[in-house]
Amino acid sequence: MKKMNLHLVALMFLFGSFISCKKDSVADPNESELITTVRVKLTEKLSGVQTVYEFKDLDGVGGAAPSKFDEIVLTKGKVYDCTLQLLNESKTPADDITLEVAAEGVDHQIYLSASDALAVISNYSLDSKGLPLGITSTWTTAAVAGTGTLNVTLKHKPGVKAAGDPVSKGDTDISVDFKLSVK
């Protein structure tokens, strides 16, 4: 029967090891991954007037609906300087994801496009290899009024970013269609 007891001891150890490997809380790596807010800052070149538009979804993909989704309103026949800001506002203070995207510029690319020829977007800022990154850009609005959408897309393409990449290449980190109105 001694053998039996040894078995039982071994058994207890096993049960013990199962229960003890529980609930080790580590910092959640997903928190730094989350992007909750896309902020589009537009400065009209002549007047220097700045307007800010936002898309905000605090709990990320799924769950509750976006809490803020602005319509971008611009004046026809004008030139704007655009600066994008990407934030994680689920924590305080908010994380500025733009800094991270800029630091890893060679793996990222921002695409901006206006529907219905409402604006021409050019002068995308560059990454360290001289390829377009797009954190800042210049927008020239159409001469006639109209409504449509303005798409902001952030692509992640580690190791494969090249000149002339179409918007379909890589993984989509952000794709937001703002309503756009040119008056």
Binding site: F18, P66, S168, D171
Partner: protein, 790 residues
């Protein structure tokens, strides 16, 4: 060409050699425990339908037999059949020992002495058939059984689908223990090393009350060989190599025992596996490698009528998820579907063993303790304890450098079973049991399913009555399933029960279900050649935690799944009929079934797609409907000569949504398989050689909803409204070749299986592969499997 002429030579040669029907097989049968001769044991040659009883010295003799492959079956009183496969070319003298204890044990391991197991509704893989699947995953291996298909995610994740049902509707018993992993996910493969088993059995339909009434689809049994209480140490080494993804597998088992005052037995087993990127007919699949490392150990002890068995196994796998399947949003998916091939920078990557993100890592521990005490031939009491720990980690592509997963699930399960089996009355056998199970799921990182605990209790009884050619079996089971402490960690998820935000750490509450399930089987034997059976059963399945409370993004799949907390259990009412006809030339199994499933739980697409910061996402909500599944499984074998035979298999299924009055999506299409097999006469060195050429024809799934809410643009630019992002793929035909032989040297036998799957490197997609949107299925795969005894 040399190969072909060799085959035709053998064919010709065999025609001359035939018909020397003068051979004899004889021997005696003993009781393994008492070593005394066993009188009145039934010995039969299955292929020839010849049966005799042993005389009072335990002797048997068959004479006037033609050369060929046969199976000898020996049965006695309460023992289960013992099968012996042999190749006859000269007279054979073979003696057998029947052990009461061993045979009772075998029966319990299999189905708890409860089930009649009508042959047409079960399928088995063992011996030669199992050897040909070595190195493959459990799901792939089971595909050889008629009526079993797979739900595939890429080329490493295979889930068995039994008559159209899978995941939590299919119960997998690993060494007699309910496998408790995260079975609910379609890309969560069973965490089992198939090398542990020497037999794989599938019980189709809800025909077993022994293991829980929730197996609406069926039960898969993964059964190891019984422990050997012999003094010798023995073992075997298995090697398998595959050309397609340059995969190698090494598995070894060693076992032995001591026989002093107390009898003990032990066994250790281990498997390592590594494969790289798989190749389709046209390109490589980047990041589709796999790594696996498994180990198991078993020990047995017996004294008098008391027995104790211990078993432990650990399973580890790391599976790469094909890079081309990683999409950001709906637009990405539509772009990929339209392009019909993966982007160049993924497609042109070539071969590599490297596994990068996205990948999954899964670890599964199983510990089992079984004690039993028996009065031979009368009754037996079993007590089984088991513990399982399942750790699942999913690693996504991240923007920031990290070693941590994005999702982790830790599932602990502890269960206890008490089973009383009685063989007392001659005509009635049966068993009664109680079962208790405790479970704890703990999540980390991203939310997909909640933390929960659960306590399940079950009580069941199954009795079998046998009289002349009739056999009747009844089974009844009551289950109570309670889930509590359902909650997220300390975050604030959307409260699915109440529809508002939760206070941090608060519970969703608890959900309890209970109900009855039952089975009735009547089987009748017309004569030695023709048998039939009819089964009627009811079963119910409590909604799983993911079906009630999932809320989030599915791993790499760019889709959102949302649970419905108010789901009620689904209830299945099934009828199955089988007809079996066996003669010397013919072997036929025919089964038809109908399952009416009330409140069938499924994922219902939501329109329009959900708006997120990453663009539009397809969303699915769990919903219920009434479903009807009707189908037919058939297997035919015809023996032209002792050397030449052919098989034909067919599975047909129609799955209908009675509420929406349309077909159910994601159901396997009809499949037909056939092969031609030639068995060679034994040579001096080569034994039991055979050559098999087979083909599979899988039809296009046309039984899908004719219209839907998804706008699909074809290559010509025409748009139609469909129920899926891609129309079901076309029908395809695959040819396979398999050659097996046993090489004898120094009284040992080296078994070799050489195979080629997808012989003509056909480019195809399968409707049941979740990656059909992104890439072709696997191309030609040449394999070599070697089994070496030590």
């Amino acid at each position: 060409m040399k190969f072909l002429s060799a085959i035709s030579f053998f064919l010709l040669f065999s025609a001359f050699v035939q018909a020397q029907c003068i051979l004899t097989i004889s021997g005696n049968v003993k009781d393994a425990d008492t070593r005394s001769a066993l009188m009145g044991a039934t010995v039969s040659i299955i292929e020839l339908k010849r049966t005799i009883l042993t005389d009072n010295e335990g002797k048997y003799t068959f004479s006037g037999i033609c050369p060929g492959d046969y199976t000898l079956r020996i049965t006695h009183a309460d023992c289960q059949a013992l099968d012996f496969h042999f190749h006859l070319k000269e007279d054979i003298v073979k003696s057998f020992q029947l052990s009461h204890a061993e045979n009772l044990l075998k029966e319990v391991v299999v189905v708890g002495a409860t089930s009649v197991r009508p042959e047409g509704m079960t399928g088995e893989l063992k011996g030669k058939e199992l050897a040909a699947t070595r190195g493959l995953t459990l799901g792939e291996s089971l595909q050889r059984i008629t009526g079993v298909t797979v739900l595939q995610t890429g080329n490493n994740i295979y889930k068995p689908v039994i008559q159209g049902l899978h995941s939590s509707r299919v119960l997998i018993l690993n060494n007699g223990i309910r496998q408790e992993g995260q079975q609910w996910g379609s890309e969560h493969a069973p965490e089992i090393d198939p090398y542990v088993a020497n037999r794989l059995t599938v019980i189709k339909g809800a025909a077993s009350v022994r293991y829980g009434g929730d197996a609406i689809g069926g039960v898969v049994l993964v059964e190891p060989r019984l422990l050997q209480y012999k003094k010798t140490v023995q073992g075997e080494v298995n090697l398998a190599a595959f050309s397609n993804n340059r995969q190698g597998v090494l598995s070894a088992v060693l076992e032995g025992g001591f026989d002093q005052r107390e009898q003990t037995s032990w066994r250790v087993q281990g498997t390592v596996k590594r494969g790289g990127n798989a190749k389709t007919a046209d390109y490589w699949l980047k990041n589709s490698g796999v790594e696996e490392m498994n180990m198991s150990a078993a020990a047995g002890w017996k004294k008098g009528n008391k027995n104790l068995e211990l078993f432990y196994s650990i399973f580890n796998t790391r599976i790469g998820i094909f890079s081309g399947s990683h999409i950001g949003n709906l637009t990405d998916l539509e772009n990929l579907v339209r392009a019909a091939v993966p982007p160049d920078y993924i497609k042109d990557e070539g071969f590599s063993y490297a596994i990068g993100r996205p990948y999954q890592f899964v670890q599964h521990h199983l510990f089992k303790l079984k004690a039993f005490s028996e009065e031979i031939g009368k009754s037996r009491l079993n007590l089984i304890f088991s513990s399982q720990l399942n750790i699942r980690k999913e690693f996504d592509i991240t923007r920031t450098e990290t070693d941590l997963p994005q999702l982790q699930l830790n599932l602990q399960t502890h269960s206890a079973d008490l089973v009383w089996e009685h063989f007392s009355a001659k005509k009635i056998k049966g068993s009664i049991g109680v079962n208790a199970m405790y479970q704890d799921n703990y999540i980390n990182y991203r939310y997909f399913v909640p933390n929960y605990q659960s306590i399940d209790l079950g009580i069941w009884a199954a009795e079998r009555y046998q009289h002349e050619n009739w056999q009747v079996e009844m089974g009844l089971r009551f289950d109570s399933r309670n889930r509590f402490n359902i909650k997220d960690n300390d975050k604030q998820p959307y409260d699915l029960l109440m529809g508002n935000m939760l206070v941090p750490g608060d519970a969703y509450g608890k959900r309890s279900f209970s109900g009855l399930s039952g089975t009735g089987v009547v089987a009748y034997k017309f004569n030695e050649n023709l048998r039939t059976s009819f089964t009627a059963s009811t079963a119910w399945r409590a909604p799983q935690v993911n079906e009630m409370f999932s809320n989030g993004l599915h791993h790499g799949a760019a889709r959102i799944e949302r649970g419905e907390a108010k789901l009620s259990p689904e209830k299945a009412y099934s009828v199955l009929g089988t007809l079996i006809y066996n003669t010397e030339k013919w072997e036929a199994e025919f089964g038809v079934y109908n399952k009416e499933i009330q409140d069938f739980i499924y994922l219902k697409p939501v329109y329009p797609a959900l708006l997120t910061i990453r663009g539009a996402f397809p969303a699915f909500d769990y919903a219920q409907t009434n479903a009807s599944l009707t189908g037919m499984d058939m297997r035919l074998a015809y023996r032209f000569t002792n050397h030449f035979q052919t098989h034909l298999k067919a599975s047909v299924l129609r799955a209908y949504d009675k509420t929406a009055k349309t077909w159910l999506i994601q159901m396997p299409s009809d499949r037909y398989e056939s092969d031609l097999e030639y068995s060679f006469i034994d040579g001096r060195k080569l034994k039991q050689s055979s050559l098999k050429l087979g083909f599979q024809y899988i039809t296009k799934q046309t039984h899908v909803p004719p219209t839907g809410n998804i706008k699909v643009t074809d290559l010509a630019g025409n748009t139609t409204m469909q129920s899926d992002y891609m129309l079901p793929p076309d029908a395809y035909t695959l040819f396979n070749l398999e050659a097996t032989t046993g090489i004898e040297f120094k009284k040992r036998r080296l078994d070799v299986v050489f195979g080629i799957n997808n012989l003509f490197d056909v480019a195809y997609r399968d409707y049941m592969n979740a990656f059909r949107y992104f890439a072709l299925d696997r191309g030609r795969n040449i394999s070599l499997k070697i089994k070496l005894p030590i």
